[in-house]
Symmetry: C2
Subunit: 333 residues, 2 copies
Amino acid sequence: MENEDFAQRSQLDLPAWEALRKRIAPYIHRTPVLTCSTLDAEAGCRLFFKCENFQKIGAFKMRGAINAALNLPQEALARGLATHSSGNFAQAVALSAKLLGVPAYIVMPENAPQVKKDAVKGYGATVIECPSTQAAREAAVEEVVREKGATFLHPYNDWNVIYGQGTAAAELLEEVPDLDFILAPVGGGGLMSGTAMAAAAYAPRCAAFGAEPLLAGDAYLSLHKGSVQKAFPPRTIADGLRTSLGDKTLYTLSRYLKDILLVEEHEIVQAMQWVWERMKILIEPSSAVPLAAVLHNEGIFSGAKVGIILSGGNVDAGCVFRHLDEVIKENTK
Amino acid sequence: MENEDFAQRSQLDLPAWEALRKRIAPYIHRTPVLTCSTLDAEAGCRLFFKCENFQKIGAFKMRGAINAALNLPQEALARGLATHSSGNFAQAVALSAKLLGVPAYIVMPENAPQVKKDAVKGYGATVIECPSTQAAREAAVEEVVREKGATFLHPYNDWNVIYGQGTAAAELLEEVPDLDFILAPVGGGGLMSGTAMAAAAYAPRCAAFGAEPLLAGDAYLSLHKGSVQKAFPPRTIADGLRTSLGDKTLYTLSRYLKDILLVEEHEIVQAMQWVWERMKILIEPSSAVPLAAVLHNEGIFSGAKVGIILSGGNVDAGCVFRHLDEVIKENTK
């Protein structure tokens, strides 16, 4: 029964994609697709980067959050949105609520960085602090859902969130319809599920690969074992990819993905550095994982046209500015 | 006599601009114009950023170098290009020579960073090392000009270089024709001269302002005194702006600029940080100087449409990658 529902929900036809893209268009940026001949030479293939680091809130999460919000019945939407997250999804829900003129309740661990709490508050959301355990987070969200009648939005294991994330790939494939491959990073699997679904609709001959750090290879194991495996200890520098899959994303990835490619930590840093230095754009470590996979799997990608979703750009570059401040002190004393 | 020539050379009509833009088009990128609503709110005006950090070699200098090279007689061009520089102009001349299939001879101080020498060699240029004094540099260039018959290209005090740099502003004004103001950083004055000339041709009602660090305010003094003032000691973090004007750029800036606005060092770092964090693009400190000027001169720019040339993105972000390498070591031990 569940599988029948999943089979239907994990497939959208082109008119459905077009309709949902039109609905969210006023609330998101259509982000650019960038290319870089130096990186092409390095990779031995033609790369097309979909720049979700330029998306509102600096990451693709805005797409899924606004699409889920717009799919709520009017009365439910009016009572507000709730989620627990200390990352990009918190900001995406907060901004979506602001744009739609409804309240947002964001549960954040009390030890979350002040700058992240401030960013969410800056969008007018109510921040609810809780102890930093999964149980405490869930209890706090349940309470706000019960008390305020707000709707809980899951960051990835939700069909409307998945569809929203897929619109980045839909835009990319509209612009470059003859891609041989499309890749995205895999954390909870929302972006990758939407990407693979969109590819199936817009470019059936385009093969989808996930990319994941070896140190957070739970999605790789989940796909190969056929059941959701627990998240690994949070050791990868790709901090957006430390979560486990959900049942909906496991189903969708199993249905569509050719495979998940695993990369090492130093390969992630190298890929990120190349994007910064050669393309002059900021991406966060999670975003560099698919490029690392392309660079280290020549056998698959050589000579092909390859699309990569650069998932976000929310990375701490504070050391650069602190270094300049020190140079100033030195030069003006 | 010189002034009569300068008066003519410092003014191009639209057909002349269009012709030279067409000639260099195959060799340069048409860079994007980006906007950012968060920065607009911060600045109290509408900002349009011309992203020369995405230009070939990562800076506007490519435009001037290729335009100067294309204006040489065929026999002179065939004997090659020469310059002395340890910065972006060295790479711009090296790449121009490579694209045109002629030799390049780049004089660099022996203590220049290896990475800069390697970048120039990577374009197939011959690097000639010399002691790190102005006299030694000039002697070394004179020698290669005499021996090889190569043509010396000055990084800014050359009309064809100035025209080339102006094509960035021409593209910006073609895309946003109703700018009230246009700004660029001022070092040797090549970019600013070309920018102001292009504005005079493409948008006569658009006022041009230069922007300069207080710690390198020699162009400000030069304009107000009417003669080229010596470069200040190299103390500003905007390391691309430490040179003095030349006679051609002094003349052109005096003719066209409303004024040069001076900014403090910490204002430069703050503006640079905002561009990195909010626009997710890398710019070098020199590029942040005009934005700093806009942010600290509300009285001039409030409510206006303001164009800014982001001159380049060749900045050292190594500390970010070194930090990640340390996190990896910590997490995997």
